[in-house]
Each structure stands twice: as structure tokens, then as C-alpha cells.
């Protein structure tokens, strides 16, 4: 557990970057610091590993003040990932990842084995091991940055806008990978971002800061969306709060409807419904309008695949999205292996949510 106790950082010249921050960062969870530019997120983060020293107040890790530890020793026990990765250009990917293990005095062989292992765990091919950072894409560099921070298996990981310099598609992949890794590793992660959606997606706990370095609100993503403490937090959360909160609400059992299905190459019978679902070996392939087929058999080119498919474990938001995006108004729901289970209607999802709200 990391604790900030009335921590203030004043830069020479009197600018106050962080003002009386008190915050508890629970072990094994992701705490996100979020807020507008210049609100002191980076400063707060860097005070944890003493890259910046607080002016007043106390920061403790499991009860020990960070100021009581040797700075270099402290940092070797805390993973650190920054925006532009900051890889060492003169070292290969493998050497970069092995940096902290080598600093800790591991022998070369052990450090290399660990580095190879982490390369794979962050989703990179071992062909990249002997490349130099300049030969990697931005997303690959960021992954190497994460592997390098984790190489000595520190219990704490500090991440300062690690995904903000990559394109949105890669960012989504990296976010998903981080969630997957975290489910496996359960590190204490402090993550800085100015992107509220990223904060809500990744955080078990989200701390919203306001300019002047003061904490506005700390809560779980659900509670933040449901009960912003003031206009600043509400504005920062942005619009669509009702819709977005559906990502975090638990879904009671989805009311599934069955569908008339067809297989590829089949001809629909007379009197078929307007839309039918084409399913092959259990996997939904798309919707088809029998009327438009004439007397021909269903082919791939006849399919309408515009809708989004949701998993049975999905949040209400995804289930609703599946229904609303479907050309039939019926969202396709599959199980974990992608097997078709049934369809849902938006009105059913809404009715369930309203019933849920009425009882809680």
C-alpha cells in the first residue's frame, strides 16, 4: 500500500504543483491519476520513486517513508514506464529489458532468460530481441518499455501516460494487454493519464485532480460516474455519463431470444421471416434477407455483418450496443468460444436495468 499524507510540492519560484494530497493506493490494484494538463499528475507520480522530492508531507510504501530509503535502491524495486518509452537507443531490445536485473546484480544468463520471458509476456515476438529501439514501431517500443519495467518483477509499477503517443487502435490493444497482464500479475499500479476514458477503463480506483494540484475526487469508476462530487468532476467526466456507466454496471441474466437460422448454401423456405441469422458450425456469420435472395442459396456476399456481436459476459453497454447496431434491432450474443446463444433487444436490456435500479 502506498500512502500520500498531506503531500505538497512547491517548485522554486512558488508554483505549487501538488497541494496537500492525501491518497491511499491499495496493493494489487490499479489507481489512475487523471486530470487536465498541469494539474500535478506527473509530479505526484514521480514523488513515489523520489524522482521528485516533496516539499512537505509524507509518502510511505507499506509504512516506510520513501525518504528513508536510498533513492537508487528504492527505484530498482519500482517499475517505471514513461510516455515515449525512453528506451536506450544504443542497446538491443533484450539488453534494454535486462537493465534492472543487471543493476540488481543478476548474472547475464539469468537476466537474459528473464528478459526473453518478459518479451513474450508483453506480446512481442522473440525475433525482436536483437533489434535496436529505432527499428521498432511506437507501439512495440511501448511494450518493450513495459517489459523493461517489469523485468525484475517489482511489486509496484508507475506508468506516466504510457499509451498517449500511439495511435488509437494500438492504444486499445495496449490497454487490453495491460488489463490481461494485470489480471495475471496483480501489481500495485499507479497510472497517469489525461484521458478520462482510459482512466475509467483501467482503474480500480480513479483519482481526479484539478489544476493547482488538489484532489477533486477518488472513487471507483462506477461511483465516479454515478456521483461526481462537483461540476468540475462532472464536466471532466464529460457527456454520455449515463451510457458510459453501463460499462461498469453488472448485467443480470440477459433475456435471450431464439432465432431462425440458415447455413451457407441453404435456400430459405417459403414464408421465412424478414431477417434470418446465418450460422455455420455454431458461429454466427451475419444476417440475411430471404426475400432478396430470390430463389438462390445464401452466399457470403449476401450477408449483412454491420452489427456488433457481444459476449454473454458483456456489460449492459455492450449488449445494448449489439442490439442498437444490428440491422434487425436484435443483438447477437455468443458464448466465450464465439458460439451463437441467442439475441437480445434493447428494450429488454433497458427494462432490466430499470428494474434493477428500482430495487437497489
Amino acid at each position: 500500500m502506498i500512502r500520500f499524507d498531506a503531500v505538497t510540492k512547491e517548485y522554486p519560484g512558488g508554483s505549487v504543483a501538488v497541494d496537500g494530497l492525501t491518497l491511499t493506493i491499495p496493493t494489487g490494484e490499479v489507481t489512475v491519476l487523471v486530470g487536465p494538463s498541469g494539474c500535478g499528475k506527473t509530479t505526484s507520480l514521480r514523488m513515489i520513486n523520489r524522482m521528485i522530492e516533496p516539499t512537505r508531507g509524507l509518502i510511505t510504501i507499506d509504512g516506510t517513508s520513501v525518504l528513508d530509503l536510498d533513492a537508487a535502491t528504492l527505484r530498482r524495486g519500482i517499475g517505471y514506464v514513461i510516455q515515449h518509452a525512453g528506451l536506450f537507443p544504443h542497446r538491443t531490445v533484450l539488453e534494454n529489458i535486462a537493465t534492472v536485473p543487471r543493476l540488481l546484480g543478476w548474472d547475464k544468463g539469468r537476466a537474459r532468460t528473464a528478459a526473453m520471458d518478459w518479451l513474450e509476456r508483453v506480446g512481442l515476438s522473440d525475433e525482436l530481441a536483437h533489434r535496436y529501439p529505432a527499428q521498432l514501431s511506437g507501439g512495440q517500443q511501448q511494450r518493450v518499455g513495459v517489459a523493461r519495467a517489469l523485468a525484475a518483477d517489482p511489486p509496484i509499477l508507475l506508468m506516466d501516460e504510457p499509451f498517449s503517443a500511439v495511435d488509437p487502435v494500438v492504444r486499445q490493444q495496449l490497454q487490453a494487454e495491460l488489463l490481461r497482464l494485470q489480471a495475471e500479475l496483480q501489481k500495485t499500479i499507479v497510472f497517469v493519464t489525461h484521458d478520462i476514458d482510459e482512466a475509467l477503463l483501467l482503474g480500480n480506483q480513479v483519482a481526479v485532480m484539478r489544476v493547482g494540484g488538489r484532489l477533486a475526487q477518488v472513487d471507483s469508476p462506477q461511483d465516479l460516474l454515478a456521483r461526481p462530487v462537483d461540476d468540475f468532476v462532472a464536466d471532466f467526466l464529460g457527456r454520455d455519463r449515463g451510457i458510459r456507466s453501463l460499462s461498469f454496471t453488472g448485467m443480470p441474466r440477459l433475456p435471450l431470444h431464439s432465432e431462425r437460422t440458415l447455413a451457407l448454401g441453404e435456400r430459405p423456405e417459403q414464408g421465412s421471416p424478414r431477417w434470418m441469422l446465418v450460422v455455420e458450425e455454431g458461429q454466427p456469420l451475419g444476417w440475411v434477407e430471404p426475400e432478396r435472395l430470390g430463389s438462390g442459396a445464401v452466399e457470403l456476399s449476401d450477408l449483412n455483418r454491420s452489427g456488433v456481436v457481444a459476449a454473454i459476459s458483456a456489460s449492459p453497454r455492450e449488449a445494448l450496443d449489439a442490439a442498437l447496431s444490428s440491422p434487425t434491432g436484435r443483438g447477437v450474443i455468443v458464448d466465450e468460444t464465439g458460439e451463437f446463444l441467442g439475441t437480445v433487444r434493447a428494450s429488454d436490456v433497458i427494462a432490466l436495468l430499470e428494474a434493477e435500479r428500482a430495487t437497489s
Partner: protein, 261 residues
């Protein structure tokens, strides 16, 4: 004339003996090596210190400004002031070495400083953040990353020193400069021109050796190389290097960033 120079350069007599080409060439190389070694021993640590701490940047500016002092004038002044206090043959050697060292320090200092200065701030920040101590940041990150520019500075210094070491002959020292000075004095222009050719050739060969050495000591990650067959196009990157400005031959300008693919 060219035939005469060629004949002089290729005749075995001109190569042999204590005042032959062979001996002079070795002397010239010896002086140059000594001078560059001393200049690097001063310029590199100083440049690293200025770059690492960000303090004393005026040293780099001052050294650059000092390039305006003509080396020949400095040499005579030193020979007159310092020479009398030094016994024996060193009375000639020491002033020349000092004058040439002062000539060689600015490019080495500027190159080293520019190299450290150009290190990606994110890499430096990451190095500290991962728990490297200041000396480790310097040796493991800043110095290796500064090497391309540092080495350019050294090469620039080597070229200038080889070219300028000829003037040491004015105050009675050996080296290839003897052919130029003595040739002029005796009206033997074949020898003078031959000496000039030898100095240029030596400079070219030594620079070639340094260029090869650069390939060995600089990480391929910094020069855009890397393992072959990675299946990607190279990416254009900003590279900074020391450029010799047009003007007096052998006089280097400051550090000029150039962009090259």
C-alpha cells in the same frame, strides 16, 4: 614538376635515414598522437561533465572562441615565454605541444558536450527512474549515446592536428613540416610540394582508420544499422555531426547540426 615530386616520393634515398620520409612520418604521427591524446584527456572528461551536469557551458563557448587565436602566433609566443624555462630539446617540444593541444581541445570538447546534450531526455529520465546512480547514467547511457558526436569531434581534432603539426618545424622540431620549411628555405620546391602531399595523404589515411574504428565502437542502434534482414525500410533520423566549415583549411567551425537520412 609532378614527375619530379613523384620521383622524390618514390626514391629509396628520400625515405631512408634520420631525416628521410620514413623517420619524419613517424615523428609527425608521434607528435599528433601525443597531442590528440592530451587534448582528449582534457576535452572528453570536461565535455562529459558539462553535458551531464549542465554546468559550465561557458567553457564550451570559451573554447570555441579561443579558436580565433592563430596557432602560429601562439606557438611563437609560447616558444619565447615558456621555452627559456625548459631545459634541452623539450624547450622546443613543449611549446608546440601546448599550442597544438589548445587547437585540438575545442572540437573534442564541443563534440563531447553536444553528444551528451543530444541524449534523448526520456532515455536519461528512464535510466534514473530505473535506479541507475549518476555515474551509471553517465557511463552506461550518456557516454555510449554521445559517442557518434564525440568521435566526430576527435576526428576533426586529428585532422587539424596533423595539418597544423607542420608548423612545429618553424621552431626547430621534426615531423613532415621539416620538408616544407627546409624546402622553402633552400628553394627546393619539389621537397616542399612533396611534404605537403605527404601531410595530406597521412591525414586521409588516419581519418580512414578513425572512420573504421567508429564502426566498431559506436552501437549500430545509434547509426541506423542493426541486424540485417529485419525486413523494414530504414527511417530518416536527425543526426548531428561536426562539419568543417569552408574557410581556412583545417580550421573547424563550431558544431553544426545537419539533417541526413
Amino acid at each position: 614538376m609532378i614527375a619530379a615530386i613523384w620521383a622524390w616520393l618514390t626514391s629509396p634515398e628520400s625515405w631512408s635515414g634520420s631525416d628521410g620520409i620514413g623517420a619524419r612520418l613517424l615523428q609527425h604521427l608521434g607528435y599528433s598522437a601525443l597531442v590528440v591524446a592530451i587534448a582528449a584527456a582534457i576535452g572528453v572528461p570536461l565535455g562529459l561533465w558539462v553535458g551531464h551536469t549542465g554546468r559550465g557551458k561557458w567553457l564550451v563557448s570559451a573554447a570555441n572562441a579561443a579558436r580565433a587565436v592563430p596557432t602560429l602566433g601562439l606557438l611563437f609566443a609560447l616558444a619565447l615565454w615558456v621555452g627559456p624555462f625548459i631545459p634541452g630539446k623539450a624547450a622546443f617540444l613543449v611549446p608546440s605541444v601546448i599550442a597544438l593541444v589548445l587547437l585540438a581541445i575545442p572540437p573534442i570538447l564541443a563534440g563531447t558536450y553536444a553528444g551528451v546534450e543530444a541524449v534523448d531526455p526520456a532515455a536519461r529520465d528512464a535510466a534514473r527512474g530505473m535506479g541507475m546512480r549518476p555515474a551509471q547514467v553517465l557511463w552506461r547511457v550518456e557516454l555510449p549515446c554521445a559517442l557518434p558526436l564525440l568521435w566526430s569531434g576527435v576526428r576533426s581534432a586529428v585532422l587539424q592536428v596533423i595539418a597544423t603539426a607542420t608548423i612545429a618545424a618553424y621552431i626547430g622540431l621534426g615531423g613532415l613540416g621539416r620538408f616544407l620549411i627546409d624546402g622553402l628555405a633552400a628553394g627546393n620546391y619539389v621537397q616542399t610540394a612533396g611534404g605537403a602531399v605527404l601531410v595530406s595523404a597521412l591525414a586521409l589515411v588516419v581519418d580512414g582508420v578513425f572512420a573504421l574504428a567508429q564502426k566498431v565502437i559506436v552501437s549500430p542502434g545509434l547509426t541506423g544499422g542493426g541486424p540485417a534482414g529485419s525486413g523494414r525500410w530504414g527511417r530518416p533520423r536527425v543526426r548531428r555531426e561536426i562539419v568543417l566549415a569552408p574557410g581556412k583549411p583545417g580550421e573547424a567551425s563550431g558544431v553544426v547540426p545537419t539533417t541526413s537520412a
